[in-house]
């Protein structure tokens, strides 16, 4: 391997010819980069050490940075959340891992009452520069509680950022941004596409902007808005629609909170139609906020009712049925056609 290092670059570039990596490898790469770059970055969670995480997101980090930078915690999510808040308040930058989406609930108290409030409560005297990473969503044939899309739990909570990357490049760039952000970030990783495909992602330490939507595909007839694993199905739906001569714009929301509604509004102003796609249950899922903003601010642009393609208002079933629960390319195409027919 051809190793290139600039002496004034603490983090260093690791490889001159970056190879294509998966989303999960991009996560690991971003963690490693920022741990080299900033020694206040600490990784903690269950099995993140020697084992490298149940999904291998932290693989090799303990070997590289030592057991004082990568900590296996006792098995308690309340503990992880509370320790993270306390460390962050003392100026460290903890990046905690919740092992699965379904195990985040015991963390809600410390996140909502403390992480999201320290700056506000103390008028800026203390704050919480922390990231909580969590493998998110369904579709991997996992046991119960390993498949939940629970982003809505956090989107009504002031003071938080909720970020959901959908490609290796965005995983790398947004995770770097999340770690560097001085406020708490819930970083949800679509586990279904952890290893779906590879992409060349330079390990250059360049963060991508938070708080903005990413337009993945330009279009003029209809706007498809989504995030996380469903980006894939949505892009495929756009392909299918194109085949029928329909030009779909595809937007990856990427940061749900705070929402960059301007980008969505601009697109809908152009297309007049909008389908929102997410895998969480429909009622009061985050899609509702986007539809609400459209009803408030884009009413006169809308040529058709807004459509939501979502999980049903029931729990995601165990894996024998789970794919029937999730949004599919067909469901998205059908919704788009309904909107276009309206």
């Amino acid at each position: 391997m051809n190793v290139m290092t600039k002496s004034n670059d603490k983090a260093g570039a690791q490889a001159a010819t970056p190879t294509a990596i998966t989303l999960i490898e991009a996560i690991t790469q971003a963690l490693a980069y920022e741990m080299r770059n900033d020694d206040s970055v600490i990784v903690l969670g269950e099995d993140v050490g020697v084992n490298g995480g149940v999904f291998r997101a932290t693989a090799g980090l303990q070997q590289k940075f030592g057991a004082e930078r990568v900590l296996d915690t006792p098995l308690d999510e309340t503990t992880i959340a509370g320790l993270t808040v306390g460390m962050a308040a003392m100026g460290m930058k903890p990046v905690a891992e919740a092992q699965f989406d379904g195990f985040m609930y015991p963390m809600v108290d410390h996140i909502v009452c403390h992480a999201a409030r320290f700056r506000y409560r103390t008028r800026g005297r203390l704050h919480c520069p922390m990231v909580l990473r969590v493998p998110w969503g369904g579709g991997i044939r996992a046991p119960e509680h390993h498949s939940e899309a629970n982003e809505a739990i956090f989107t009504n909570v002031p003071g938080l950022r909720v970020v959901l990357p959908s490609s290796p490049a965005r995983a790398y760039g947004l995770l770097l941004a999340a770690i560097r952000d001085p406020d708490p970030v819930i970083f949800m990783e679509p586990k279904r596409i952890y290893r779906q495909y590879k992409e060349v992602v330079a390990d250059d330490g360049e963060a991508l902007p938070l708080d903005v939507c990413y337009v993945l595909r330009d279009g003029s007839d209809i706007t498809l808005v989504t995030w996380g694993a469903q980006v894939k199905e949505t892009l495929e739906a756009a392909d299918k629609l194109a085949f029928d001569g329909i030009s779909a714009e595809v937007i990856d929301v990427a940061t749900l909170k705070p929402l960059d509604f301007a980008t969505i509004a601009e697109s809908v102003a152009k297309t007049g139609r909008c389908v929102i796609v997410h895998e969480a249950p429909r009622t009061a899922g985050f899609g509702a906020e986007i539809a609400a903003r459209l009803a408030e601010e884009s009413m006169y642009d809308l040529l058709a009712p807004v459509e939501r393609v979502t999980g049903y208002d029931t729990h995601i079933p165990l894996f024998r049925l789970e794919m029937k629960y999730l949004p599919s390319v067909d469901k998205i195409v059908a919704a788009a056609k309904r909107a276009l027919a309206a």
Binding site: N51, P74, L75
Partner: protein, 357 residues
């Protein structure tokens, strides 16, 4: 110096790793014959376990959590309960559940991604598997509180792991058991590992049993590979509970001989030597030796029983494999007793989509 309180944590062991008695067994279990049916059940569980792992490897089962090495603890716990008691397992105590009437096919359904595995025929009031670690301990405490308020002589028994004993719900359960003097037995099954995290990283406590002192509970350790110790520990705890004497924390010392689950590779984080060493304390071997010494078991019997186990497990496996998938509406039909109209609309839409497909 004034001393406000003093405590001792007892350790129970009767049958050593070599199959010889290290202490006089308690009267209730002095006759080795009483152990025979449980030993047979332990063998059955081990057969079930290895066949389930094999099934998973062929792609016919989802992630599966093996119980290899836990047979004495699991079967001993299940065998110490009454049908009217309530059991709150974590996710690998099949031995305890089989003793209570849960069917192997139901275990397979659950790990096979079908909720109907939780609709088991075992005691209908038992809790189902609990994936969120140790939350079942608090549900068992709630059940125990219900028994107490209704003045029913029933006991709630919950299991969690060494890792699970770090979970706040475990502490909440023992705190409640003490505060309300609940008929609750908290079984901490210390198998040395919580996935890749060793027992030593979970806590600074010398024993996990002593956590019970935080709630003023009856707290002790047993050798979880010694069926007699398991039975005696459970006897003490359930009798105390049934008599209104309150809760217990029992730490069962055993070892997870397999990977955490079929999705895990334990070689990444623990040494072959440690596992080899743990095999010398295998609960099966020592009991076999003991029963053989008492002429209650021999190779021929073992062979016959092993065949019988294999046959019975195959019946269960086939029953599982032949169970058709639930219809799509199953994901709507058990959410509310009284489902709201919007949900029924979604249900109808899902069915329509199926028909089209």
């Amino acid at each position: 110096m004034t001393v406000a309180a003093r405590f001792e944590i007892e350790y129970l062991q009767y049958l050593g790793p070599d199959g010889k008695l290290v202490a006089e067994p308690p009267a209730a279990f002095a006759d080795p014959k009483t152990l025979l049916p449980l030993f047979k059940q332990m063998l059955f569980v081990r057969t079930f376990d290895s066949k389930s792992i094999a099934l998973q490897r062929t792609g016919k089962l989802g992630t599966y959590a093996s119980c290899l090495g836990h047979e004495a603890t699991h079967v001993g716990i299940g065998g110490s309960m009454r049908p009217e008691d309530v059991f709150a397992p974590s996710y690998r105590e099949y031995g305890a559940q089989f003793m209570r009437g849960v069917k192997p096919r139901e275990v397979l359904m659950y790990w096979g991604g079908d909720e109907r595995g939780n609709d088991f025929e075992g005691p209908r009031h038992d809790f189902s598997w609990s994936v969120p670690i140790s939350t079942q301990c608090l549900h068992a405490a709630g059940a125990a509180l219900a028994f107490k308020l209704r003045k029913q002589p029933r006991v709630a028994v919950a299991c969690c792991g060494d890792g699970g004993s770090s979970k706040t719900d475990f502490y909440a359960a023992l705190n409640s058991a003490g505060a309300f003097t609940l008929p609750l037995v908290l079984c901490v099954i210390n198998n040395g590992w919580a996935i890749s995290v060793p027992r030593s990283a979970q806590t600074g406590a010398k024993t996990l049993a002593q956590k019970g002192l935080a709630g003023g509970l009856n707290s002790f350790q047993v050798d979880g590979n010694d069926l007699i110790a398991v039975l005696e520990g459970m006897r003490r705890a359930t009798e105390l509970a049934r008599a209104g004497g309150g809760g217990s924390v029992i730490e069962f010392l055993t070892y997870r001989l397999h990977d955490h689950t079929t999705a895990d590779d334990a070689r990444r984080y623990r040494s072959e030597d440690e596992v080899k060493d743990a095999w010398t304390r295998d609960p099966m071997t020592r009991l076999r030796t003991y029963l053989t010494a008492h002429k209650l078991w021999d190779e021929a019997t073992e062979k016959a029983w092993a065949e019988e186990c294999a046959k019975r497990v195959d019946v269960e496996l086939n029953a599982y494999l032949e169970t058709p998938v639930q219809p799509v509406e199953a994901m709507f039909d058990y959410l509310y007793a009284d489902p709201p109209p919007d949900l029924l609309e979604q249900r109808a839409a899902a069915i329509a989509l199926e028909k089209r497909a």
